[in-house]
Symmetry: C2
Protein backbone atom coordinates (compact mmCIF):
# COMPACT_ATOMS: atom_id res chain seq x y z
CA UNK A 1 0.00 0.00 0.00
CA UNK A 2 2.64 2.45 1.11
CA UNK A 3 4.78 1.75 -1.91
CA UNK A 4 1.82 2.27 -4.18
CA UNK A 5 0.85 5.59 -2.69
CA UNK A 6 4.46 6.64 -2.79
CA UNK A 7 4.80 5.74 -6.41
CA UNK A 8 1.71 7.66 -7.29
CA UNK A 9 3.08 10.71 -5.50
CA UNK A 10 5.95 10.75 -7.96
CA UNK A 11 3.36 11.76 -10.47
CA UNK A 12 0.95 13.96 -8.57
CA UNK A 13 3.81 16.02 -7.16
CA UNK A 14 4.42 17.80 -10.41
CA UNK A 15 1.24 19.31 -11.87
CA UNK A 16 2.78 19.19 -15.35
CA UNK A 17 5.32 21.90 -16.00
CA UNK A 18 5.66 24.40 -18.82
CA UNK A 19 3.85 22.86 -21.74
CA UNK A 20 5.31 25.38 -24.19
CA UNK A 21 3.83 24.17 -27.43
CA UNK A 22 4.41 20.51 -26.63
CA UNK A 23 1.31 18.33 -26.95
CA UNK A 24 -0.07 17.22 -23.61
CA UNK A 25 0.62 13.53 -24.23
CA UNK A 26 4.25 14.41 -24.96
CA UNK A 27 4.51 16.17 -21.63
CA UNK A 28 3.16 13.10 -19.87
CA UNK A 29 5.53 10.92 -21.89
CA UNK A 30 8.58 13.00 -21.02
CA UNK A 31 7.58 13.07 -17.39
CA UNK A 32 7.50 9.28 -17.18
CA UNK A 33 10.63 8.90 -19.28
CA UNK A 34 12.32 11.23 -16.86
CA UNK A 35 11.36 9.21 -13.81
CA UNK A 36 12.95 6.21 -15.46
CA UNK A 37 16.22 7.72 -16.63
CA UNK A 38 16.78 9.37 -13.26
CA UNK A 39 16.23 6.03 -11.56
CA UNK A 40 13.17 6.99 -9.54
CA UNK A 41 11.43 4.23 -11.42
CA UNK A 42 13.54 1.19 -12.10
CA UNK A 43 13.19 -1.77 -14.46
CA UNK A 44 10.49 -4.11 -13.22
CA UNK A 45 8.50 -1.42 -11.38
CA UNK A 46 4.75 -1.31 -11.67
CA UNK A 47 3.55 2.17 -12.52
CA UNK A 48 0.15 3.52 -11.42
CA UNK A 49 -2.86 2.60 -13.52
CA UNK A 50 -3.93 4.74 -16.44
CA UNK A 51 -6.97 6.04 -14.63
CA UNK A 52 -4.97 6.88 -11.51
CA UNK A 53 -2.44 8.72 -13.61
CA UNK A 54 -5.13 10.60 -15.45
CA UNK A 55 -6.57 11.85 -12.17
CA UNK A 56 -3.18 12.60 -10.60
CA UNK A 57 -2.03 14.57 -13.62
CA UNK A 58 -5.38 16.14 -14.34
CA UNK A 59 -5.67 14.95 -17.93
CA UNK A 60 -8.06 12.65 -19.71
CA UNK A 61 -7.51 8.88 -19.66
CA UNK A 62 -7.15 8.87 -23.43
CA UNK A 63 -4.19 11.24 -23.22
CA UNK A 64 -2.44 9.07 -20.64
CA UNK A 65 -3.15 6.03 -22.78
CA UNK A 66 -1.58 7.66 -25.80
CA UNK A 67 1.53 8.67 -23.84
CA UNK A 68 1.92 5.15 -22.48
CA UNK A 69 1.29 3.62 -25.88
CA UNK A 70 4.18 5.63 -27.27
CA UNK A 71 6.47 4.51 -24.47
CA UNK A 72 5.40 0.93 -25.07
CA UNK A 73 6.32 1.37 -28.73
CA UNK A 74 9.70 2.56 -27.58
CA UNK A 75 9.85 -0.52 -25.39
CA UNK A 76 10.51 1.58 -22.32
CA UNK A 77 7.32 0.21 -20.77
CA UNK A 78 5.26 -2.89 -21.30
CA UNK A 79 1.63 -3.55 -20.49
CA UNK A 80 0.08 -6.66 -19.07
CA UNK A 81 -3.66 -6.76 -19.38
CA UNK A 82 -5.42 -7.12 -16.06
CA UNK A 83 -2.20 -6.50 -14.12
CA UNK A 84 -0.80 -3.15 -15.05
CA UNK A 85 2.02 -1.34 -16.80
CA UNK A 86 5.66 -2.03 -15.95
CA UNK A 87 9.04 -0.50 -16.64
CA UNK A 88 10.89 -2.72 -19.13
CA UNK A 89 13.95 -4.67 -18.29
CA UNK A 90 16.81 -4.25 -20.71
CA UNK A 91 16.28 -6.69 -23.49
CA UNK A 92 19.52 -8.21 -24.57
CA UNK A 93 17.57 -10.33 -26.99
CA UNK A 94 17.83 -7.19 -29.09
CA UNK A 95 21.60 -7.30 -28.99
CA UNK A 96 23.34 -7.80 -32.30
CA UNK A 97 24.87 -10.61 -30.39
CA UNK A 98 21.82 -12.74 -31.00
CA UNK A 99 22.68 -12.91 -34.67
CA UNK A 100 25.51 -15.22 -33.83
CA UNK A 101 24.65 -18.77 -34.73
CA UNK A 102 21.04 -18.04 -35.19
CA UNK A 103 19.04 -21.00 -36.37
CA UNK A 104 20.55 -24.46 -36.41
CA UNK A 105 19.05 -25.25 -39.82
CA UNK A 106 15.72 -25.70 -38.09
CA UNK A 107 15.73 -22.02 -37.21
CA UNK A 108 15.76 -22.71 -33.50
CA UNK A 109 17.90 -20.32 -31.55
CA UNK A 110 20.92 -21.93 -30.03
CA UNK A 111 22.11 -21.43 -26.53
CA UNK A 112 25.60 -20.07 -26.17
CA UNK A 113 27.33 -21.19 -23.03
CA UNK A 114 30.07 -19.01 -21.63
CA UNK A 115 33.26 -19.86 -19.81
CA UNK A 116 35.50 -17.41 -18.01
CA UNK A 117 39.07 -17.65 -19.23
CA UNK A 118 40.66 -14.76 -17.37
CA UNK A 119 39.81 -12.17 -14.71
CA UNK A 120 41.96 -9.66 -12.93
CA UNK A 121 42.21 -6.18 -11.51
CA UNK A 122 44.70 -3.86 -13.17
CA UNK A 123 45.32 -0.28 -14.23
CA UNK A 124 43.32 0.19 -17.42
CA UNK A 125 44.81 0.77 -20.85
CA UNK A 126 44.41 4.36 -21.99
CA UNK A 127 41.85 3.72 -24.75
CA UNK A 128 39.61 1.65 -22.48
CA UNK A 129 39.70 4.26 -19.70
CA UNK A 130 38.74 6.88 -22.23
CA UNK A 131 35.75 4.87 -23.46
CA UNK A 132 34.71 4.32 -19.84
CA UNK A 133 35.08 7.99 -19.10
CA UNK A 134 37.42 7.44 -16.14
CA UNK A 135 40.89 8.79 -15.47
CA UNK A 136 43.76 7.12 -17.31
CA UNK A 137 45.40 4.31 -15.33
CA UNK A 138 42.33 3.91 -13.11
CA UNK A 139 41.94 0.46 -11.66
CA UNK A 140 39.66 -1.70 -13.79
CA UNK A 141 38.30 -5.20 -13.55
CA UNK A 142 38.98 -7.22 -16.68
CA UNK A 143 36.90 -10.24 -17.56
CA UNK A 144 37.54 -12.47 -20.52
CA UNK A 145 35.12 -15.17 -21.62
CA UNK A 146 34.62 -17.57 -24.50
CA UNK A 147 31.19 -18.37 -25.89
CA UNK A 148 30.68 -21.99 -26.82
CA UNK A 149 28.09 -23.84 -28.78
CA UNK A 150 28.47 -27.32 -27.43
CA UNK A 151 32.23 -27.71 -27.35
CA UNK A 152 32.99 -25.36 -30.19
CA UNK A 153 34.12 -21.80 -29.38
CA UNK A 154 32.32 -19.24 -31.56
CA UNK A 155 33.12 -15.97 -29.84
CA UNK A 156 35.38 -14.25 -27.32
CA UNK A 157 34.39 -11.43 -25.04
CA UNK A 158 36.70 -8.81 -23.55
CA UNK A 159 34.94 -6.87 -20.81
CA UNK A 160 36.17 -3.93 -18.69
CA UNK A 161 34.54 -2.38 -15.58
CA UNK A 162 35.67 0.42 -13.27
CA UNK A 163 36.91 -1.29 -10.09
CA UNK A 164 34.90 1.18 -8.03
CA UNK A 165 31.67 -0.11 -9.56
CA UNK A 166 32.31 -3.81 -9.06
CA UNK A 167 34.93 -4.12 -6.31
CA UNK A 168 36.14 -7.67 -5.83
CA UNK A 169 34.59 -9.02 -9.02
CA UNK A 170 38.03 -10.22 -10.05
CA UNK A 171 37.93 -12.67 -7.13
CA UNK A 172 37.93 -16.26 -8.37
CA UNK A 173 35.51 -17.27 -5.65
CA UNK A 174 32.66 -15.31 -7.25
CA UNK A 175 31.00 -17.46 -9.82
CA UNK A 176 30.17 -15.64 -13.07
CA UNK A 177 26.91 -16.81 -14.62
CA UNK A 178 26.13 -16.59 -18.34
CA UNK A 179 24.25 -13.39 -17.71
CA UNK A 180 26.89 -11.24 -16.11
CA UNK A 181 24.50 -8.33 -15.65
CA UNK A 182 22.28 -10.36 -13.34
CA UNK A 183 25.28 -10.85 -11.05
CA UNK A 184 26.20 -7.18 -11.17
CA UNK A 185 22.67 -6.24 -10.15
CA UNK A 186 22.54 -8.83 -7.35
CA UNK A 187 25.97 -8.25 -5.88
CA UNK A 188 26.50 -4.57 -6.48
CA UNK A 189 22.98 -3.21 -6.94
CA UNK A 190 23.92 -1.75 -10.30
CA UNK A 191 21.04 -2.04 -12.78
CA UNK A 192 21.87 -2.03 -16.47
CA UNK A 193 19.60 0.48 -18.15
CA UNK A 194 20.70 0.52 -21.76
CA UNK A 195 23.56 -0.26 -24.10
CA UNK A 196 24.97 0.85 -27.41
CA UNK A 197 26.47 -1.52 -29.92
CA UNK A 198 28.58 -1.07 -32.97
CA UNK A 199 29.28 -3.80 -35.46
CA UNK A 200 32.14 -4.24 -37.88
CA UNK A 201 34.23 -6.99 -39.33
CA UNK A 202 37.94 -7.42 -39.03
CA UNK A 203 40.72 -9.93 -39.41
CA UNK A 204 41.32 -12.09 -36.33
CA UNK A 205 44.27 -11.08 -34.23
CA UNK A 206 46.60 -13.82 -32.97
CA UNK A 207 45.03 -14.17 -29.54
CA UNK A 208 41.44 -14.23 -30.75
CA UNK A 209 42.31 -16.62 -33.53
CA UNK A 210 43.86 -19.01 -31.08
CA UNK A 211 40.89 -18.90 -28.74
CA UNK A 212 38.44 -19.48 -31.57
CA UNK A 213 40.53 -22.18 -33.16
CA UNK A 214 40.78 -20.39 -36.48
CA UNK A 215 43.67 -19.12 -38.53
CA UNK A 216 45.03 -15.67 -37.79
CA UNK A 217 43.62 -13.19 -40.33
CA UNK A 218 40.35 -15.07 -40.82
CA UNK A 219 37.35 -12.73 -40.86
CA UNK A 220 35.70 -12.11 -37.48
CA UNK A 221 32.69 -10.02 -36.62
CA UNK A 222 33.52 -7.34 -34.07
CA UNK A 223 30.87 -6.03 -31.74
CA UNK A 224 31.70 -3.14 -29.43
CA UNK A 225 29.30 -2.46 -26.61
CA UNK A 226 29.05 0.43 -24.18
CA UNK A 227 26.82 -0.37 -21.21
CA UNK A 228 24.99 2.22 -19.12
CA UNK A 229 23.42 2.31 -15.69
CA UNK A 230 21.12 5.02 -14.33
CA UNK A 231 21.90 8.62 -15.13
CA UNK A 232 23.79 7.75 -18.31
CA UNK A 233 26.80 6.49 -16.37
CA UNK A 234 28.98 4.11 -18.36
CA UNK A 235 29.78 1.00 -16.34
CA UNK A 236 31.21 -1.37 -18.91
CA UNK A 237 32.90 -1.45 -22.27
CA UNK A 238 32.98 -4.74 -24.01
CA UNK A 239 34.38 -6.06 -27.25
CA UNK A 240 33.07 -9.32 -28.61
CA UNK A 241 34.76 -11.03 -31.51
CA UNK A 242 33.07 -13.93 -33.20
CA UNK A 243 33.52 -16.27 -36.10
CA UNK A 244 32.00 -14.58 -39.13
CA UNK A 245 30.67 -17.88 -40.43
CA UNK A 246 28.42 -18.12 -37.38
CA UNK A 247 26.92 -14.70 -37.84
CA UNK A 248 24.11 -13.43 -40.05
CA UNK A 249 21.90 -10.38 -39.73
CA UNK A 250 18.57 -9.98 -41.49
CA UNK A 251 16.32 -7.00 -42.22
CA UNK A 252 13.34 -6.03 -44.25
CA UNK A 253 13.22 -2.79 -46.24
CA UNK A 254 9.96 -1.15 -47.22
Amino acid sequence: MDAEVDRLSLFSATPLEATQGKPLYRVVEDHIRNLITTGRLIPGDLIPSESQLAKALGVSPGTVKKAITNLVWEQLLFRHQGKGTYVSRVDFEKSLFRFFSYGDAEGRSIRIHKETTARRRQPGPADICKRLGVATESDLVYIERVGLIGEQPVLVEYSWWPATVVPGLEDESIHIPDYLYALVLDQYGVPIVRAQETLTADAADAKTAKMLGIAKGTPVVVLKRTTYTQGDRIVEVRTTKGRADRFSYKTEIR
Copy 2:
Protein backbone atom coordinates in the same frame (compact mmCIF):
# COMPACT_ATOMS: atom_id res chain seq x y z
CA MET B 1 -12.63 13.56 -59.04
CA ASP B 2 -13.07 10.33 -60.85
CA ALA B 3 -9.85 8.94 -59.48
CA GLU B 4 -10.86 9.92 -55.99
CA VAL B 5 -14.23 8.26 -56.17
CA ASP B 6 -12.62 5.22 -57.70
CA ARG B 7 -10.07 5.00 -54.93
CA LEU B 8 -12.76 5.29 -52.30
CA SER B 9 -14.69 2.47 -53.94
CA LEU B 10 -11.74 0.19 -53.23
CA PHE B 11 -12.75 0.53 -49.65
CA SER B 12 -16.50 0.74 -49.68
CA ALA B 13 -16.75 -2.34 -51.89
CA THR B 14 -15.90 -4.73 -49.09
CA PRO B 15 -18.04 -4.13 -46.01
CA LEU B 16 -15.33 -5.66 -43.82
CA GLU B 17 -15.11 -9.43 -44.03
CA ALA B 18 -15.12 -12.07 -41.33
CA THR B 19 -13.87 -10.33 -38.21
CA GLN B 20 -13.33 -13.63 -36.38
CA GLY B 21 -11.97 -12.37 -33.10
CA LYS B 22 -9.71 -9.80 -34.70
CA PRO B 23 -10.08 -6.27 -33.35
CA LEU B 24 -11.84 -3.93 -35.75
CA TYR B 25 -8.83 -1.69 -36.24
CA ARG B 26 -6.81 -4.75 -37.20
CA VAL B 27 -9.34 -5.62 -39.85
CA VAL B 28 -9.11 -2.11 -41.27
CA GLU B 29 -5.32 -2.31 -41.12
CA ASP B 30 -5.19 -5.63 -42.95
CA HIS B 31 -7.62 -4.36 -45.55
CA ILE B 32 -5.39 -1.40 -46.41
CA ARG B 33 -2.23 -3.48 -46.23
CA ASN B 34 -3.82 -5.84 -48.68
CA LEU B 35 -4.64 -3.12 -51.19
CA ILE B 36 -0.99 -2.15 -51.12
CA THR B 37 0.63 -5.58 -51.44
CA THR B 38 -1.70 -6.53 -54.28
CA GLY B 39 -0.77 -3.34 -56.09
CA ARG B 40 -4.22 -1.76 -56.11
CA LEU B 41 -2.64 1.06 -54.19
CA ILE B 42 0.87 1.99 -55.28
CA PRO B 43 3.66 3.94 -53.58
CA GLY B 44 2.87 7.64 -53.75
CA ASP B 45 -0.91 7.18 -53.86
CA LEU B 46 -3.14 9.38 -51.75
CA ILE B 47 -5.63 7.31 -49.79
CA PRO B 48 -9.09 8.61 -48.81
CA SER B 49 -9.36 10.79 -45.74
CA GLU B 50 -9.92 9.27 -42.32
CA SER B 51 -13.48 10.51 -42.12
CA GLN B 52 -14.30 9.23 -45.60
CA LEU B 53 -12.85 5.86 -44.71
CA ALA B 54 -14.78 5.76 -41.48
CA LYS B 55 -18.04 6.33 -43.35
CA ALA B 56 -17.18 3.96 -46.18
CA LEU B 57 -16.25 1.16 -43.80
CA GLY B 58 -18.93 1.91 -41.26
CA VAL B 59 -16.62 2.33 -38.27
CA SER B 60 -15.82 5.24 -36.03
CA PRO B 61 -13.13 7.77 -37.06
CA GLY B 62 -11.08 6.83 -34.02
CA THR B 63 -10.83 3.25 -35.20
CA VAL B 64 -9.64 4.28 -38.66
CA LYS B 65 -7.16 6.62 -37.04
CA LYS B 66 -5.74 3.84 -34.93
CA ALA B 67 -5.41 1.52 -37.93
CA ILE B 68 -3.65 4.20 -39.95
CA THR B 69 -1.42 5.12 -37.02
CA ASN B 70 -0.22 1.53 -36.89
CA LEU B 71 0.51 1.47 -40.60
CA VAL B 72 2.35 4.76 -40.30
CA TRP B 73 4.33 3.20 -37.48
CA GLU B 74 5.19 0.36 -39.86
CA GLN B 75 6.17 2.98 -42.41
CA LEU B 76 3.77 1.59 -44.95
CA LEU B 77 1.91 4.92 -44.98
CA PHE B 78 2.85 8.46 -44.09
CA ARG B 79 0.64 11.36 -43.11
CA HIS B 80 0.88 14.95 -44.17
CA GLN B 81 -1.21 17.29 -42.09
CA GLY B 82 -3.67 19.29 -44.12
CA LYS B 83 -3.02 17.19 -47.23
CA GLY B 84 -3.77 13.59 -46.48
CA THR B 85 -2.30 10.13 -46.05
CA TYR B 86 -0.06 8.55 -48.67
CA VAL B 87 1.40 5.14 -49.47
CA SER B 88 5.13 5.17 -48.68
CA ARG B 89 7.84 4.81 -51.25
CA VAL B 90 10.49 2.17 -50.62
CA ASP B 91 13.20 3.70 -48.54
CA PHE B 92 16.58 2.40 -49.47
CA GLU B 93 18.04 4.73 -46.93
CA LYS B 94 17.12 1.92 -44.60
CA SER B 95 19.34 -0.52 -46.45
CA LEU B 96 22.19 -2.00 -44.49
CA PHE B 97 24.11 -0.66 -47.40
CA ARG B 98 24.08 2.79 -45.89
CA PHE B 99 26.39 1.62 -43.16
CA PHE B 100 29.19 1.49 -45.64
CA SER B 101 31.54 4.40 -45.19
CA TYR B 102 29.22 6.27 -42.96
CA GLY B 103 30.63 9.49 -41.67
CA ASP B 104 33.88 10.86 -43.02
CA ALA B 105 35.20 11.71 -39.55
CA GLU B 106 32.83 14.69 -39.57
CA GLY B 107 29.90 12.29 -39.57
CA ARG B 108 28.65 13.51 -42.92
CA SER B 109 27.30 10.74 -45.11
CA ILE B 110 29.38 10.13 -48.16
CA ARG B 111 28.09 9.66 -51.62
CA ILE B 112 29.01 6.39 -53.26
CA HIS B 113 29.29 6.61 -57.01
CA LYS B 114 28.75 3.47 -59.05
CA GLU B 115 30.31 2.26 -62.27
CA THR B 116 29.11 -0.62 -64.35
CA THR B 117 31.90 -3.12 -64.97
CA ALA B 118 30.00 -5.87 -66.74
CA ARG B 119 26.53 -6.60 -68.11
CA ARG B 120 25.26 -9.51 -70.15
CA ARG B 121 22.41 -11.90 -70.77
CA GLN B 122 23.06 -15.54 -70.02
CA PRO B 123 21.50 -18.74 -68.68
CA GLY B 124 21.49 -18.34 -64.91
CA PRO B 125 23.56 -20.41 -62.49
CA ALA B 126 21.44 -22.94 -60.60
CA ASP B 127 21.66 -21.26 -57.18
CA ILE B 128 20.73 -17.83 -58.53
CA CYS B 129 17.75 -19.24 -60.44
CA LYS B 130 16.60 -20.92 -57.29
CA ARG B 131 16.80 -17.72 -55.27
CA LEU B 132 14.90 -15.91 -58.03
CA GLY B 133 12.28 -18.64 -58.09
CA VAL B 134 12.64 -19.27 -61.83
CA ALA B 135 13.43 -22.45 -63.75
CA THR B 136 17.06 -23.54 -63.81
CA GLU B 137 18.97 -22.27 -66.83
CA SER B 138 16.42 -19.48 -67.42
CA ASP B 139 17.86 -16.48 -69.21
CA LEU B 140 18.98 -13.81 -66.77
CA VAL B 141 20.46 -10.35 -67.04
CA TYR B 142 23.65 -9.98 -65.06
CA ILE B 143 24.90 -6.58 -63.95
CA GLU B 144 28.14 -6.00 -62.13
CA ARG B 145 29.06 -2.66 -60.60
CA VAL B 146 31.73 -1.17 -58.37
CA GLY B 147 30.93 1.43 -55.74
CA LEU B 148 33.53 4.16 -55.44
CA ILE B 149 34.19 6.86 -52.94
CA GLY B 150 36.12 9.35 -54.97
CA GLU B 151 38.51 7.09 -56.84
CA GLN B 152 38.69 4.33 -54.26
CA PRO B 153 36.56 1.21 -54.77
CA VAL B 154 34.80 0.19 -51.54
CA LEU B 155 32.26 -2.33 -52.73
CA VAL B 156 31.24 -4.60 -55.59
CA GLU B 157 27.70 -5.49 -56.56
CA TYR B 158 26.59 -8.62 -58.37
CA SER B 159 22.99 -8.28 -59.54
CA TRP B 160 20.75 -10.79 -61.36
CA TRP B 161 17.32 -10.20 -62.97
CA PRO B 162 15.02 -12.52 -64.94
CA ALA B 163 15.40 -11.52 -68.61
CA THR B 164 11.63 -11.54 -68.98
CA VAL B 165 11.33 -8.74 -66.42
CA VAL B 166 13.96 -6.43 -67.89
CA PRO B 167 14.43 -7.45 -71.54
CA GLY B 168 17.28 -5.64 -73.23
CA LEU B 169 18.78 -4.25 -70.03
CA GLU B 170 22.03 -5.92 -70.95
CA ASP B 171 22.28 -3.55 -73.93
CA GLU B 172 25.26 -1.23 -73.59
CA SER B 173 23.27 1.65 -75.03
CA ILE B 174 21.06 1.86 -71.95
CA HIS B 175 22.75 4.02 -69.37
CA ILE B 176 22.55 2.68 -65.83
CA PRO B 177 22.16 5.40 -63.22
CA ASP B 178 23.30 5.06 -59.60
CA TYR B 179 19.76 4.18 -58.61
CA LEU B 180 19.10 1.16 -60.80
CA TYR B 181 15.54 0.80 -59.51
CA ALA B 182 14.56 4.20 -60.90
CA LEU B 183 15.56 2.96 -64.35
CA VAL B 184 13.68 -0.29 -63.96
CA LEU B 185 10.52 1.61 -63.01
CA ASP B 186 10.90 4.09 -65.88
CA GLN B 187 11.82 1.65 -68.62
CA TYR B 188 9.92 -1.45 -67.61
CA GLY B 189 7.18 -0.13 -65.32
CA VAL B 190 8.30 -2.47 -62.56
CA PRO B 191 7.98 -0.82 -59.14
CA ILE B 192 10.18 -2.08 -56.32
CA VAL B 193 7.95 -2.66 -53.34
CA ARG B 194 10.24 -4.13 -50.71
CA ALA B 195 13.51 -5.95 -50.17
CA GLN B 196 15.11 -8.33 -47.73
CA GLU B 197 18.72 -8.12 -46.73
CA THR B 198 21.06 -10.46 -44.96
CA LEU B 199 24.44 -9.46 -43.66
CA THR B 200 27.51 -11.56 -42.97
CA ALA B 201 31.23 -11.30 -43.23
CA ASP B 202 33.51 -13.47 -45.28
CA ALA B 203 36.98 -13.64 -46.71
CA ALA B 204 37.37 -11.92 -50.07
CA ASP B 205 37.42 -14.23 -53.08
CA ALA B 206 40.02 -13.61 -55.77
CA LYS B 207 37.78 -11.63 -58.10
CA THR B 208 36.30 -9.39 -55.42
CA ALA B 209 39.71 -8.82 -53.88
CA LYS B 210 41.09 -7.69 -57.20
CA MET B 211 38.21 -5.31 -57.83
CA LEU B 212 38.51 -3.78 -54.38
CA GLY B 213 42.26 -3.60 -54.51
CA ILE B 214 42.73 -5.67 -51.37
CA ALA B 215 44.48 -8.95 -50.68
CA LYS B 216 42.60 -12.18 -51.25
CA GLY B 217 41.28 -13.45 -47.92
CA THR B 218 40.90 -10.01 -46.37
CA PRO B 219 37.59 -9.65 -44.49
CA VAL B 220 34.68 -8.32 -46.53
CA VAL B 221 31.14 -7.60 -45.47
CA VAL B 222 28.63 -9.56 -47.52
CA LEU B 223 25.12 -8.24 -48.06
CA LYS B 224 22.61 -10.41 -49.86
CA ARG B 225 19.45 -8.72 -51.08
CA THR B 226 16.24 -10.15 -52.47
CA THR B 227 14.12 -7.51 -54.17
CA TYR B 228 10.36 -7.73 -54.62
CA THR B 229 7.78 -6.07 -56.84
CA GLN B 230 4.01 -6.18 -56.40
CA GLY B 231 2.43 -9.45 -55.37
CA ASP B 232 5.57 -10.72 -53.65
CA ARG B 233 7.25 -11.47 -56.95
CA ILE B 234 11.04 -11.61 -56.74
CA VAL B 235 12.66 -9.54 -59.48
CA GLU B 236 16.26 -9.32 -58.39
CA VAL B 237 18.84 -11.05 -56.27
CA ARG B 238 21.93 -9.09 -55.47
CA THR B 239 25.11 -9.72 -53.57
CA THR B 240 27.18 -6.79 -52.44
CA LYS B 241 30.66 -7.28 -51.04
CA GLY B 242 32.42 -4.41 -49.39
CA ARG B 243 35.60 -3.62 -47.55
CA ALA B 244 34.99 -4.37 -43.89
CA ASP B 245 37.03 -1.38 -42.82
CA ARG B 246 34.51 0.92 -44.45
CA PHE B 247 31.55 -0.58 -42.67
CA SER B 248 30.08 -0.02 -39.23
CA TYR B 249 26.62 -0.64 -37.86
CA LYS B 250 25.24 0.97 -34.73
CA THR B 251 22.25 0.21 -32.48
CA GLU B 252 20.79 1.12 -29.16
CA ILE B 253 19.48 -1.52 -26.77
CA ARG B 254 16.95 -0.71 -24.06
